[in-house]
Symmetry: C2
Subunit: 392 residues, 2 copies
Amino acid sequence: MFDFKYYTPTKVVFGRNTEGQVAELIREFGGSKVLIHYGGGSVVRSGLLKKVTDALDSADIPYVTLGGAVPNPRLSLVYEGIALCKKEGVDFLLAVGGGSAIDSAKAIGYGVTNEGDVWDFYDYKRKATACLPLGVILTLAATGSEMSDSSVITKEEGQIKRGYSSDFARAKFAIMNPELTMTLPDYQTACGCADIMMHTMERYFTNGGNMEITDSIAEGLLRTVMTNAEILVKDPKNYDARAEVMWAGSLSHNGLTGCGNDGGDWMTHKLEHELGGLYDVAHGAGLAALWGSWARYVYKDCLPRFRRFAVNVMGVEPVGADEDIALKGIEAMEAFYRRIHMPTNLRELGVNPTEAEFADMAHKCAVGVNGAKGSARLLREADMLAIYKASL
Amino acid sequence: MFDFKYYTPTKVVFGRNTEGQVAELIREFGGSKVLIHYGGGSVVRSGLLKKVTDALDSADIPYVTLGGAVPNPRLSLVYEGIALCKKEGVDFLLAVGGGSAIDSAKAIGYGVTNEGDVWDFYDYKRKATACLPLGVILTLAATGSEMSDSSVITKEEGQIKRGYSSDFARAKFAIMNPELTMTLPDYQTACGCADIMMHTMERYFTNGGNMEITDSIAEGLLRTVMTNAEILVKDPKNYDARAEVMWAGSLSHNGLTGCGNDGGDWMTHKLEHELGGLYDVAHGAGLAALWGSWARYVYKDCLPRFRRFAVNVMGVEPVGADEDIALKGIEAMEAFYRRIHMPTNLRELGVNPTEAEFADMAHKCAVGVNGAKGSARLLREADMLAIYKASL
């Protein structure tokens, strides 16, 4: 068991119509001039943005707005947001949307409160010492950014996608109304479920330090997301299922499901990261497409965990050799992906890299992790290449 | 499913020797003059208090100390602490100990930052608007006060024991070193485990609003505490078991295991409250002594939950009638209590109330809950009396 820190200061306000509390929450956390940051037109079309601006108007809280945050949020928009905040004297950020708007807002918050180029933090050159206070109205259950310390930004020049994490960027509050996620396309809902599960699975498949209470929480979370992801395939407006998935999304990535272990494996994320850099694929779908190949490549080196996963999460009967039980668990996971219409390989994802592209992804991935990474099994460039190719 | 708020801002620093970080954590949260508040002599004898004062000395953080917090912490000591803080200009509270020291510190914090008599808050006369910032070094896994919003104080005059809860009193940080709990007497360790489990069970046995993810976390937590409580009976110095129980204690009462439900039942706590007022019994042991009688009295009105508890927590085979399965679960819980040397009735607890005392406890309990309370089953004075008598 490893020592750990656990810090989740975000005040979660969960339930129907909770977006109505936005003005009072901004006041509670000291905001007096707000940047409302959002993504595409969906929050405009749904009327959510108007609801929010009406609430701020009623409460006499001045604000400016900035839309345009896209999946893999761009550095150029972050710069624009920083300039806007400085010009307008903004002291509070409100992200309305999913991970893209939230991550973009976090980067803006770093840029406003720290001297110099905000990209330095994402480029691992120096560390932030502050961030603007941030509130969230969540419209998509997936990245867990509403309670996490992390943000991922893409620099257009060279298409460099990088993450930066610090407790300064933990949201002050997160408003979570499951109804706001009901209009998502089915594919995006399923991608979100795959992403949520992977945040816990990356922490779960390790060879070090696991705590029983953490494992039992992780397993319960995974079972819950599976059950409810399947309900949402048939009944996308099911409030309870939306709520289960939404809350699981936050708990999956706020640190809870990794307490006491060695930090997790995270290689499926790293592999998907390069795939997403080369092809315009949804993050959750990319993770699902790669996971099976990763799992088959590493499971013998992390057999107790894969066996336990098979039995406690996937419901495999604990009879026979451990390796067989573990493999049945991997197969059951892939069968689940198929049931929620997620891909289990690259062809199903719709991509077909050349040999040179495989080699390029593996090389970039290895460089990105300083040569080797992985707790379930330590992977180097040749291993990464093998997993990519096996996932075709 | 009910709407909920979830707010756990406490920074948890968990692991061996983490008490060495106390000075830097106090600085991080803005403390410049500290009251170190503790209980009896054990933190003196163990050398922990000296370690803490040495750390503050080294960091040039001035402090005053106040010991003497006892189980069912007293209002008179709270008044003394308030006066001391005001005289010395204390701006940060450090509780070193278990729930008694923490709860007493929370009350001191209310008293320093709010005008008037601090007892008003515990007497439900008005609400606090602030509390001094509080840090904790935990030496006993039981009450969960290190992450909870609650505190319980006893007014000596009339022996009135009352709780008050507000987010203002959530600790800024909690240092949790499982080694600090290794020297506890076995009985106190077991009482702590019973208390921890009950914090989750009170939230679990309800007839309203349950979320699957909350239930699965609750069940995993209960199984974890049971497993490790039994390990500690035989091997009290087992670090991993101490750690599992310690972390479970915080998660059990920080709100996580009640998200989405109707707030919980809490009648076992209310019944024990009056028992503890009349007899000097350990809180965890009192809960264990009463739970079985409560469960048998209410289980038919909350059958799906009791059945689920039996199967998912106690490992009862799900065959036969639901009522039989539920009863087997209650029996299995009592068998567990016996294995960790906890009482399952009042005689085993060592008390034998008279008819008049039973009536008195039931009456006080009914008054304390404004006539009726309970989600598993709504209980009135006659029900309370019946449960007390059945627990003999």
